[in-house]
Symmetry: C2
Amino acid sequence: MARAWYFTAYPQGLPTLDHVALRELPDQPLADGQVRVRNEYLSVDPYMRGRMTNLASYVEGFAIGEPMTGGAVGEVIESKAEGFAVGDKVMHMNGWRDEAVVDTQPGPGGMGTQKLPPMNVPIQAWLHNLGLTGATAYFGLLKTADAKPGDIVFVSAAAGAVGSAVVQIAKKKGMTVIGSAGGPDKCAWVKELGADACIDYKAGPVLPQLAAAAPDGIDVYFDNVGGDHLDAAFAVARNFARFAICGMIDRYNDAEGGVEFKYLIRTIPARIRMQGFIFTDYAEHMMEFLGEMGPWVMNGDMKMRETVHQGIGSAFDAFLGLFSGGNTGKMLVKL
Amino acid sequence: MARAWYFTAYPQGLPTLDHVALRELPDQPLADGQVRVRNEYLSVDPYMRGRMTNLASYVEGFAIGEPMTGGAVGEVIESKAEGFAVGDKVMHMNGWRDEAVVDTQPGPGGMGTQKLPPMNVPIQAWLHNLGLTGATAYFGLLKTADAKPGDIVFVSAAAGAVGSAVVQIAKKKGMTVIGSAGGPDKCAWVKELGADACIDYKAGPVLPQLAAAAPDGIDVYFDNVGGDHLDAAFAVARNFARFAICGMIDRYNDAEGGVEFKYLIRTIPARIRMQGFIFTDYAEHMMEFLGEMGPWVMNGDMKMRETVHQGIGSAFDAFLGLFSGGNTGKMLVKL
């Protein structure tokens, strides 16, 4: 019997088993245009915490009493959709479950199903550097922040899945990169990824470290963290700097508190542009992304680390692990 | 003997006579390409507080021991510049003094001198709706925020010089406009300017009032205030909302304190774009601005209020008046 993680209540702060539950899925007969997929890998990502909210305008929130969703890859085991055959490997957004029934075409109910191109890469790469992680890094850096060769780029959570990709893409594009991460081990990894410098935010306040690492300021900030990192970026931004706001992991589980900013006012004299984004905003550029990232991944030019949890039962623990600061690289669940 | 207001020390908080001084100007012989102007009106503006700082990257800061600068209009009384004759009316950026020697061509030393077109408007209009005030409103709304007909626009300090112009331009362009101002008299003026609603920030917290006035959210925020107004705008922003950050008057005189934001995190799900700007960023669009604003001003289609102080000695008091919340409309000094 297929099982899925259901969203059951809005959490205040870090979610617990009071807010999600692993349940059996009801029988799901296949409709025309749908396929049944045995999921092989699930992606758990920080942004999912943002979907566990009832803020009215958060359009993509999880629905109470429904299975959660997220990136997944697997194999078609039944098909009523033209062009999809049993045995095809696919990527879709009905994760958080071991077996998924998905529409193959994008529509109001979802983003559809992509057949994986016949590339010689591990299947989970389609959730990682060839999937939403890589696309988030690529589009956020190159489209949202409009980063150019020669730019000085600051990226927070640089040892994380998205941050690791940002560091490497920026270096391939001829940028100077300053990362931040928590602790010497993670900083060593960020340097190994090619970063010119890495700030250890556990070793002291961010701003003086960033000011020392970027004495001429920064042109681009790729934000995965918010809070003190974002304020430090405002402080050292050069004129016409661009901030791509991808995540604010330090805020996701703090529903009540505000965050203090001292340097946001530099938005005016420095003409800073701050822009939030979600990788699907750039869906029309997906081939451009795959055209660059595909060869990098196939040629082994993208270093990566993965933390892999085993079994559908571990998915929620894997998710919580994103917020403890303990993992490096991409967090995955193997089924 | 000509006199000017000199910048003498960096203030913490509201500047006083410990930080500026009215002094006689040394004799200034005219060089080739320069004109001597007897200033008739000086502009004092909130952004000037931002120039009284030594933040390293604030490129346009006032220099200690030098006369301050700012918008001014007046009459040429001596000319060594081709195309400029005694009696010409001109606009330039060497304000804060009763007599100015200015380069006529833009260069590293300044923005040059513009001969005023022969339009039948009061000369101070070139500092107000036809000058930096109107250009700031026009470019911030239509370029920085990319506001379109049908958009729901929120503008703070809507009874101020820039805010009053934003309200009217937005209404002429077919937008819904919600203003904010302090007190019932100012709110009545904002409604008279055409705003669909006006929030009195002195009557209660901004966010619940804004949420009530904009039940469907806002597409554009024109920020003159920062702080609670900006946070409220983050809270109610619709997807792909654009914020033009023009001023943060509540921050200019508070050098130490931070500002708490609870809703900045909505930048991500709503994909908000926040952009700081200065009207000179759009210098190449100046003719487009004058082409629209000129007829509006000449035809009396732009309602306006002015607070006019008399004499060079009053200029600093006029400037301080910007921060007391007492004035409505454009603050000017008549010489």
